[in-house]
Each structure stands twice: as C-alpha cells, then as structure tokens.
C-alpha cells in the first residue's frame, strides 16, 4: 500500500523558501519567553509551523508576554485575531508570516521562482480562497492596536530570484558547474533584511505591543 503523498506547499514557492521561513519563525518564537499561539487559515502553513512549535512548547514559559504567530493573514481572520489581541498585554508580540503572491498567471515559471511580484494593491486570494491581506494593511491594522514593527526578515529577495534564474538557465544549457555556483549564490542571498525585505517572496515581521 502506498502512503499518501506529503502535502505540497501552496502556490508556487520552492520548498527551500518555505523551510527557511518556517524555521526562522520557530527560532524567533523559540527564544520568546512567553506562550506562543498559532493562527493560520492555510492547512499547510498551520501543519508545518505546528510541527516546529511542538519542539519547544512543552517547556515551561512565562505567561506574561504571549506571542501570536499569524501566518498568511486574510480578511476572514480579523475578527478572531482582534478578540485574541484584546487580551495581549504590553510587551506581547505578533509575528507575521506574509506571502507575496503573483499578479499574473497562477502557474509557476519553469525555474520555480515567482516572476511578477509587484505589490500594487489588488484582490488576491489565499490558498483557501480568502482575501489575503497586504503587508501594509496588516501592519496598519496592528499599529492601530499598539503593535509596532521591531524586526523584519525577507526570504527570497530579488538577488535570490536573479541567481536562481541564472542557475536554472545554466542547468538547461548543460552547464552544471555554473548552475551550482549560481545556486550557491542564490542561497547566500536567501535571507535579506532592511530595505530589501519588501521585495522578498516571504516576509517575517515581528511586532511588539508598545501601547494599548
């Protein structure tokens, strides 16, 4: 009897990007001293993040500063999250995992790298058909509740996409040695911070409640 195949990542993102984002998310949550709550309407995100959070959730933690991990936020989440955050004291955190989706066709390009990542506002649906929230929308919404951005990381920025495409092309041309070097460069550029974060395919933003 064949086992059921593992769930595939939603959308077009490569496994490496997701793994990096999930692990970084878990590492940030792991060093948070309060309890961690996970919310994601997407079953893949929820399952992968839960798997990682299981590795440390048994440990005893202070209950004073909770953290919410909110992955792939969508409009339908807002009422529940608003209720949850009402009970979050000062110093509590919200760790956002944001996904940039393509505006064009739904299929991946041959290199497996997202092509058009323009962030011009338009209605984009999550994998479960909900309207996804734009990064600015979520951050404004959280800011209205006293949460300020502390740290941001991008996974898969423009350099990563550039080198990944070159690696793909070199592989197609039978230049495996070049392909490997380009791939290594892509990996070195995988994680970005500062001004390069908004162009990344996946973004992690830690916000902390500074005022009520």
């Amino acid at each position: 009897m064949k086992a059921a195949p593992a769930p595939l990542p939603p959308g077009i993102l490569s496994d490496l990007l997701h793994q990096t984002a999930f692990n970084l998310c878990a590492a940030l949550a792991g060093s948070w001293d309060g309890p961690v709550v996970l919310r994601s309407g997407d079953p893949f995100y929820a399952a992968e993040l839960a798997l990682r959070l299981e590795t440390f959730l048994q440990t005893e933690r202070s209950t004073r500063r909770p953290m919410l991990i909110w992955a792939d936020p969508c409009v339908a989440d807002l009422p529940e999250i608003a209720d949850l955050l009402d009970d979050f004291p000062l110093g509590s955190g919200v760790l956002l995992l944001l996904v940039r989706r393509r505006r064009g066709s739904d299929g991946p390009d041959a290199s497996g790298v997202a092509q058009d990542l323009s962030c011009a506002p338009r209605i984009v649906r999550t994998e479960t058909g909900q309207r996804a929230l734009w990064p600015k929308e979520v951050l404004d919404w959280l800011a209205a509740r006293g949460f300020r951005e502390e740290v941001g990381y991008g996974i898969g920025g423009s350099d990563y996409r550039f080198w990944s495409r070159l690696a793909y092309l070199a592989e197609r041309l039978g230049q495996e040695d070049r392909a490997d070097r380009f791939r290594a460069r892509a990996q070195a550029a995988l994680l970005v911070w500062g001004k390069r974060v908004p162009a990344a395919i996946l973004t992690l933003i830690l916000t902390v409640r500074r005022n009520g």
């Binding site: 064949k2 593992a6 793994q19 990682r52 590795t55 740290v151 990381y153 040695d177 490997d180 500062g194």
Partner: protein
C-alpha cells in the same frame, strides 16, 4: 622496516585517541531526544534547527560505538550504542518513519538516505544485542522492519522502474541513496535469513547503480557514478564522497550474490576517486561531466566515509594508500575533540575563499562527525594505552561569518559566533532552536528575540 612499524603504530594510536576525543565531543551534542546541533551541507545549511536529528548521524554513531565495543569488549560502548538505538525507537512515528530525519532540511520526516541509514544502524545493533541475549534486540529489529516495509519498500520502491525513488514525490534515481537502502536490506537478510529481499530489491538496485557508472576506459571520468538520474536525463555530476558511500554496498552485493560485476564496479569507482584525490589527501566536492571540478567545500569529517571505502577496496586486493586522506582527516581535529566539517565553504559561490576559514568549515556537525567517528573507532583496540580524554573548557577560532570577521567559540554547553559588537549566532546545546542576529538588527541595536 622496524621504523615503519613504529610509525604505523603511532599513527594508529593517534587515530585511536582522536576517536575517543571525538566521542567525548559527541557527548556534548546530546540533548533531549538525541544528538542535535546545526547542520551545514552542500545542498543547504540549517543553522536554526538544532534539536535532535534522527538521520544518517545515527549510522556513524551507532556503528562507531559497536566497533569500539567489538574491538575493546568494553560494555560502556555497547551501552552508548544501545542508548542511541533507543533514541531512534522513541522517535519512530506510527508510519514507521523517524521524526526529524531530514538532516539539512529538518525538522521533517521521510528523509533519504537518512531513514535507511538509521535502519542499517538498528539492524547491526540488533545483531550484537541478539548475540548478547539482550531482549531489546527484537524491538530494535522490529523498528527497522517497520521503516523498511512501511516506508522504504512501500513508498520509495518504484515497481515499474525497479529502482528506488529519491523521495515520495520525486522519481529521480539517486545511486548513493539506493546503496544505503541496499546495505540496510542486506543487514536485514543477514539478521533474519530472509533472502527474498536480495533478489527482489538488492539485485535490481545494484544493477541500476552499475548502469549509472561511467564506462570510458580512456577518460578520467571512468568509474564515476552519476549523482542522480531522472528518466533519461543524468545530472552530469559526480561527487567523490557520495560515490565512496556506494562502494561498500557494491562489495556487500558481490559477497551476497557472487556477481563479479559489482566488485568490478566498486573497484573502478575507487579508481575514479583516487584519480581525483589531491596531493593533500582531500577530494573535490564535485566533478562535472565536462571534466571541470568544484573543490568547494572539501569534506573533512566526511572523509571518514571515503577512508572506509578505501578499506573495503584494500580488502579486495586493490592497492590503495589511505595515508594522505588519513592526514587530511586528522588535520581537521579540533582542540575540544570535535572535527571540522569542511574546508573552503567560502569559495562555494565561485569567489576566492578568504585565508580565514568560513564558520561553516569549522562548525563540527554530528551528521558529518559521525563519519569520522565510525572510521576512527576502527583504530581503537583493547591493547591501546591511551591517555584519558580531557577537553579544554572552551575553544575559540577566528572565522568569517556572513562576510564578517568573527570568533567561533564552543564550550560543552554553548556554541556561538561573535562579531565585534556581540554575538551573531548562538546555540545553547540541548535546545531545539538557535538564535541568529542579522545586520539590520545589529545596526539598530535590536536584540534578537
């Protein structure tokens, strides 16, 4: 002549002592659930997940301890092999898979060849436990059976292609991974006397490996074995390290079936490895079908598996001098007993590597150190008079981390990389996640939470 014997004895003693020091370092890497720590690899690094990994590290750790036990008769080594086996038993899922078995892609399950490597270790452990009439042997063997029949044969075996798939969703045939499965199946056959697996899976897999070997007598690539084959398309990459891992399976296959083609393939594979061995005993990371090679990074701890393959080839009468590679391995030993993972990670992207080693070179990784441990453990014998292992409380080495000059510091409880203004990477041993600080945070003075 006598002088040569003394030299040989000395180098054997040096390697034996290195095995015991490495064992002491491995102990510092144990946490709840097993051996943990960051991972660096050619394919990708995983510096963040540092919890236990039930992956190929258990192959070298368990088999290394069994070797120590066999060679010395000291029960404490068997106890440690048993303890590592229990890590695997406790980390087995109802599906038969092992928890966190994906090494560089952890945490995840269904890792290849990692789960087969765990099976191999469990089956050899079961063998020894049965000899000792330890009732745990049946549970250990059953765990391997559940993984082999519940995952490896049920999910990875492609009945149509008569080869093993790389992953459930990836039909690529990866010879070194199939070789690890072959070794596990042969260990099963040896333990239980069930020979059906040899005809049904081992033979076709070894045939596919032989088919993936370059046959070009006048070419330096002769004997190389493809890294992966997807349909009719080969990857065009030959990794000496992975090819070395295939050699024992081919020779075991020869012993089990008497088919000389497997022995011939193994010796030609070793000839390829020796052809590309560099004067310092190291091997390039990869040789391409166009004849170019990429040295970066060159495995140091992983050279243990290359030396093990050399030992197998020597047993078949091949003239192989392991000494340059032994010296290469020993040069990687660190003061605290750990062993450097590689040399030249900084040059991986095609840039000239700095004189100062990359942090990834220095970082000892359980899943690489186990290969050195397994090989070096074979040098320890009951008659050795070795000093007691005493590791310094801390080790510090200069390194480059993400382009910045840093200090690598490791103690029995912490591993950290420090820049001028504070730490950049920190792992408290035994915890499942490490902390990383990036440039933007440093500039803004925001601590990594």
């Amino acid at each position: 002549m006598r002088g040569n014997h003394i030299e040989a004895d000395l180098s054997q003693q040096v390697m034996a002592f290195a095995a015991l020091r490495l064992e002491a370092w491995l102990e510092t890497m144990r946490g709840p659930g097993g051996y943990g720590g960051p991972v660096v690899h050619w394919w990708r690094d995983n510096l963040l997940y540092t919890g236990p990994g039930l992956d190929w590290r258990y192959e070298g750790i368990i088999l290394g301890y069994l070797k120590l036990f066999r060679n010395t008769g000291d029960d404490r080594w068997l106890d440690k092999a048993r303890r590592a086996g229990i890590d695997l038993l406790q980390g087995q899922l109802p599906s038969g898979n092992f928890r966190h078995s994906c090494f560089e892609a952890n945490p995840g399950t269904g890792g290849t060849p990692h789960e087969a490597a765990c099976d191999l270790a469990l089956l050899r452990l079961a063998h020894v436990l049965r000899e000792r009439e330890d009732p745990l042997w049946e549970t250990v063997a059953e765990a391997a059976r559940r993984n082999l029949w519940g995952y490896i044969l049920a999910v990875l075996w492609d009945d149509e292609a008569r080869t093993f798939r790389n992953l459930p969703n990836d039909p690529t045939f990866v010879p070194n991974k199939a070789a690890t499965i072959v070794e596990a199946l042969l260990a099963w056959a040896e333990l239980t006397g069930e020979k059906e697996v040899v005809n049904r899976y081992v033979g076709p897999s070894l045939d596919a490996i032989v088919k993936a070997q370059v046959r070009a007598p006048n070419s330096p690539l002769d004997g190389a074995i493809e890294q992966g084959i997807m349909g009719a398309r080969a990857s065009g990459r030959y990794f000496p390290f992975y090819i070395a891992r295939i050699i024992p399976a081919l020779l075991l296959g020869y012993e089990a079936t008497g088919r000389e083609v497997y022995q011939d393939a193994a010796l030609r594979a070793m000839a390829f490895i020796l052809r590309f061995r560099l004067p310092d005993g190291s091997l390039p990371q990869v040789v391409y079908r166009n004849g170019r090679m990429n040295r970066h990074p060159q495995w140091v701890a992983g050279a243990g598996d290359i030396l093990r393959a050399m030992k197998w080839a020597r047993r078949c009468g091949m003239d192989v001098n392991p000494e340059p590679t032994q010296l290469w391995l020993l040069r990687g030993l660190q003061l605290h007993g750990g062993i450097a993972t590689a040399h030249g990670f900084g040059g991986m992207e095609g840039r000239r590597p700095s004189v100062c080693p990359d942090a990834r070179d220095l970082l000892p990784v359980c899943g690489w150190a186990d290969k050195a441990f397994r090989y070096l453990a074979g040098m320890v014998h009951g008659g050795n008079h070795l000093p007691a292992v005493q590791s310094p409380p801390e080790v510090e080495m200069d390194c480059i981390f993400r382009g910045e000059r840093c200090l690598y510091r490791e103690t029995a409880t912490v591993l950290e990389i420090r820049g001028e203004s504070g730490w950049r990477y920190q792992w408290t041993k035994g915890t499942p996640w490490a902390k990383l600080i990036l440039c933007s945070e440093r500039k803004r003075g925001v601590p990594c939470r």
